[in-house]
Symmetry: C2
Subunit: 226 residues, 2 copies
Amino acid sequence: MGTPSIGHRLAEAAVALFDENGYDETTVDDIAARAGVSRSTFFRYYRSKEDAIFPDHDTLLATVDARLRASTAGTAIVAVTDAVRIVLAHYVDDAEVSLRRYRLVGRVPALRDREIASVARYQRLFREFIGTWLAGTPDADLRAELMAASVVAAHNQVLRGWLRAGGMYDPSGPLDHALGYVIATFRHLEQPKEAGDDQVVVATFSRSTSPQAVMEAIQAHLSSRP
Amino acid sequence: MGTPSIGHRLAEAAVALFDENGYDETTVDDIAARAGVSRSTFFRYYRSKEDAIFPDHDTLLATVDARLRASTAGTAIVAVTDAVRIVLAHYVDDAEVSLRRYRLVGRVPALRDREIASVARYQRLFREFIGTWLAGTPDADLRAELMAASVVAAHNQVLRGWLRAGGMYDPSGPLDHALGYVIATFRHLEQPKEAGDDQVVVATFSRSTSPQAVMEAIQAHLSSRP
DNA sequence: CAACATTAAAATACTCAGTCTCGCGAAGAC
DNA sequence: GTCTTCGCGAGACTGAGTATTTTAATGTTG
């Protein structure tokens, strides 16, 4: 514990130098020197200069993938929301690092593009998962694409808000709200799609039925259709 | 017409060489030589090697921006769908180029990331436009993010399908279908949001009302709420 | 302990993208 | 005619990323 790993030392050196002198002004040699190792060693730990800023992205991506795969058709929605929560939690757990990186990425176009590309990889994961989940249903590909994009967008919206606010609150509530919004959005379309476009479903209730009873009946009806 | 512009010659040389020898194996010197100009000239026309593949992206982005700005609150949806149609049309008009680029981008990670980054710029444009459009309404930011992501995802889904099929059909129909799906999706949420979460709206009809009449009444009701 | 094998790190050389500066030469401006 | 402008070429330079070789540290075995 007295001697942190070389990978850590390199990452810290990189962030520190980027903060002090700017990204473009910092060379890999500078980073390696600050970490007390050689240039070669830097490239053994990180594939590129940008990678030093996004160290554990591959790990997180694998975690998300694992969470998605560990689900059946019936628990698909839970798997998706869980996976998103995992990603957000990863940022929140390292609020300090996340915030510094956020400020840095906002100033360096190269890093910005890099982050966007990695977000796209998450979206691809979700799209594939939802695609196989919906396989066989009408417009499966389109819906998978839209849901994946929406889920990721919801996460990004919540994360950005949290980062802009300096990470001063717990974003779990906002995330649940946003994800609920997404799920409600697409669930609304399940009914007419499954009933067919040219079929009208009319639910009738006694005039004396309470609003709660109406809502519960509708909920039960929607939930019964996977 | 006998002498195409240097910019064109460079772009053609680049694509040809990428096809023949691969992207990484082609140097900027090769491209310049093939186009009969110097290396310096290449960089005067394109900021980077990747840029030679995405020449008119800035122009298209500006066109989309202009189309969005040229709209009032009442015509926002039309502006969005129009803008998306403009983008898709741009690909379809140059089917030959689009297809070659598609195959190339699919094989070269660097180009892939680049394209994803430029897609994100379109999404940002849509997000900002929808954001100002919805300004003041509840969850404006979240909804802007989701709608923008969905609109772009719908476009990409249609475009990818068209490209995978070799550009052999007119994708206007699929695009309209996809956009209609998106619009319907989010319109469904307008009602409960505006009515408030704790209020239940129940529409009653005479038992003898025809399904068509029911549908029309619902449509009219939804349309009346911007 | 000595000879050997394994492996992380250093050293070095190389390619090539991207930037910058300078100089040329040809097209117009007056 | 000279003078400016501007597109282009030439060449030098920085730095990322790759590949190869060399050195040093840490075992491992007899």
